[in-house]
């Protein structure tokens, strides 16, 4: 307890602890495997796109997007443009008003917090030391 007693003279440590706690509490708690797409969105004046894997895998197997539609399995490696989507490629294979909502519902996909970098977010157990 002697070590703790020295804390009494160190209010800075208390501040540090509070700051640390605040830092942790404001950390992102995105759902596991949420992907942010923002290679071009904000440059073009739109919010970043949030792609929720959980929502899509209830409805489609991985192979649909990652084999049939050609999305590479590395967040940030796909340059997805609205032109392609409107032409029926990438998201546009489903987001065409038939299988899923049409591209004119801009804000439903472009729903991300401004300033987020592209990449994979979330993690219930790990935030991973990987290269994301």
């Amino acid at each position: 307890m002697r070590a703790f007693a020295s804390l009494r003279r160190m209010p800075a440590l208390v501040l540090l602890a509070v700051a640390l706690g605040t830092g942790v509490s404001t950390r992102s708690h995105a759902e596991y495997a949420d992907v942010v797409l923002n290679r071009t969105a904000e440059k073009e004046g739109m919010r970043p796109v949030v792609f929720p894997h959980w929502f899509h895998r209830i409805r489609f197997r991985c192979k649909v997007c990652h084999a049939e539609l050609g999305f590479k399995m590395r967040a940030g490696s796909n340059l997805v443009t609205m032109g392609d989507i409107i032409d029926g490629k990438f998201c546009g294979a489903c987001h065409n008003g038939e299988i899923a909502w049409a591209p004119e519902n801009c804000d439903l996909c472009h729903s991300g917090k401004p300033g987020l970098p592209p990449g994979i977010f979330g993690g219930h157990e790990t935030n991973g030391p990987g290269i994301w």
Partner: protein, 213 residues
């Protein structure tokens, strides 16, 4: 009032607690740190907490046991957009890491091909050839090999025993039996196999023997 370090520690934990989702809880979109809480999509998009509690539970990732969800038919995700596209499956277990300090790995092709296509892993991530892939946890933790999905979208890398699931001696016996069977078959094929280049491209049953030497 005397200062109590326990109060400080309690405060620290309390400040961490409220926004950290606990088991059986899913963050609300407006509070998840990736959605713009002031954007028009909030209120229109489905919340994870509305969909995921209805699926078979798990302790990691989305807290959903996705394979169980698929196999029990609770979810029926489409295998393709083009109905003519072949939904390829392979029911073949691969045993890896037979002599490591961890239990051996059983890789089930079936569970993987229920979700994925062969081309998602072959050949750019894994050569379909025994011993040709230097699989390492270091690379996996860097997001390579299995780590392209595990740790990102498939169950995370904290779940060691889901892959390292077979005692080494048991895996060694299984592999020895399969190898003996293969040797017998190739001996029976004899001269035919020697000139048949097609046999080279058959899927190999085993992998991960590289560490034995």
């Amino acid at each position: 009032m005397p200062f109590r370090p326990t109060v400080l520690i309690a405060l620290l934990f309390a400040s961490m607690a409220p926004s950290t989702p606990h088991a059986g809880e899913w963050a609300k979109l407006a509070e998840d740190g990736v959605h713009d809480p002031n954007g028009p999509a909030i209120g229109l998009l489905q919340q994870p907490g509305d969909a995921l509690p209805n699926l078979p539970g798990d302790t990691a990732g989305n807290q959903v046991h996705w394979i169980k969800a698929l196999r029990t038919g609770v979810i029926q995700p489409r295998p393709s957009i083009d109905p003519a596209r072949e939904d390829r499956r392979l029911d073949k277990d691969i045993y890896l890491d037979l002599y490591g300090s961890m239990p051996s790995v059983r890789f089930p092709h079936l569970a993987h091909t229920e979700w994925l296509d062969c081309t998602n892993c072959h050949d750019h991530l894994f050569l379909p050839k025994r011993g040709a892939n230097n699989i390492s946890m270091f690379l996996i933790l860097q997001g390579q090999q299995c780590g392209v999905c595990h740790g990102a979208v498939a169950f995370p890398l904290t779940e060691c025993s889901r892959c390292h699931s077979v005692p080494n001696n048991q895996a060694q016996r299984i592999v020895a039996a399969i190898e003996a069977e293969e040797a017998k078959r190739s001996a029976a094929d004899g001269d035919k196999a020697a000139t048949d280049s097609g046999s080279q491209s058959q899927p190999r049953v085993l992998d991960g023997k590289a560490k034995t030497k």
